[in-house]
């Protein structure tokens, strides 16, 4: 059983599904409305919706024919939290990288191309 975050990422790893989510940020929509901008069949769109629903990214209304789709932001929030940890990880690493580059070029100016390490 893969963890929830992997399921979410798996569902997001498709441009059509990301576009569907983007559309749903503007409000609820029916399958027909969601299918409109894509050159794919209604059953194909339904399959994408099933994946999104399985990952908890969207929910669907009860009425059999209508069943409007709605964005469920909690799972996206989990993705955002996860990404923000990495954003900090890399940005702070790059701060250190910039400082280290500075150190290297100063060493060069002082005629010590390679910093001696004890």
């Amino acid at each position: 059983m893969p963890d929830l975050l992997s399921v979410t990422f798996s569902a997001l790893a498709d441009p059509t599904r990301r576009a569907i989510l983007a559309r749903l940020t503007t409000g609820e929509a029916t399958v027909n409305e969601l299918a409109e901008p894509f050159e794919i069949s209604l059953p194909a769109v339904s399959r994408h919706l099933k994946v999104l629903e399985g990952a908890g990214l969207i929910s669907r209304g009860r009425e059999a024919q209508w069943r409007p789709c709605k964005l469920e932001p909690d799972r996206l929030k989990a993705v955002d939290d996860w990404l923000s940890v990495y954003r900090r990880f890399w940005e702070q690493s790059f701060d250190k990288m910039a400082a280290y580059l500075e150190e290297l070029s100063e060493g060069e100016r002082n005629g010590r191309p390679k910093k001696k390490r004890r």
Partner: protein, 159 residues
């Protein structure tokens, strides 16, 4: 399409940074373990362990640590190496934690501009090889689009 862009951006990471050094120097900081030990890891962390085998299919493994977060091992495999221009590798945390087991692909491009280097890091989640293969072309297509998207954003940052 601002909403669409945001949705895509929300599922992956893109960090553009300009360094005051030519691409050959910035690339060297990624391709030597001794250099990487000097900067890898966020604020408050040191990187005492780093071993890399810089060739396509070669592995790397390292560890960052801090007083309150202990030792954190990470590892991956190099997928593409174009000296001074592009580096692609997988990245996975090698210990228990919320992100353990989730493999990512990190793509870094280096672009020279007026003697400086514009470094673009793109990170996207990636499932295990088995699951990726079972999905066939679907995923690689998605990944191509992400790559194009990354380039577009990089250009916007540059403009």
């Amino acid at each position: 399409m601002d909403a669409q862009r945001k949705s895509v951006a929300d599922t992956e990471l893109l960090i553009v940074r300009t360094f005051n050094a030519p691409p050959s120097v910035v690339f060297a900081l990624w391709s030597s373990a001794e250099h990487m030990k000097r900067w890898m890891g966020p604020k408050g962390f040191t990187c005492p362990e780093m071993a890399i085998d810089l060739r396509v299919g070669g592995h790397y493994r390292g560890m960052i640590k801090s007083a309150d977060r202990g030792e954190n091992w990470f590892a991956g495999v190099y997928r593409e190496i174009v000296p001074d221009k592009r580096l692609v590798f997988t990245f996975i945390w090698d210990n228990d934690g919320p992100s353990a087991g989730l493999e990512m692909v990190v793509t870094i491009t280096f672009e020279e501009r007026d003697g400086k280097t514009v470094q673009t890091l793109h990170q996207a989640p990636f499932r295990t090889v088995e699951r990726r293969d079972s999905h066939g072309g679907g995923w690689s297509e998605a990944f191509d689009k992400q790559a194009v998207y990354a380039e577009t954003i990089a250009k916007e940052h540059a403009a």
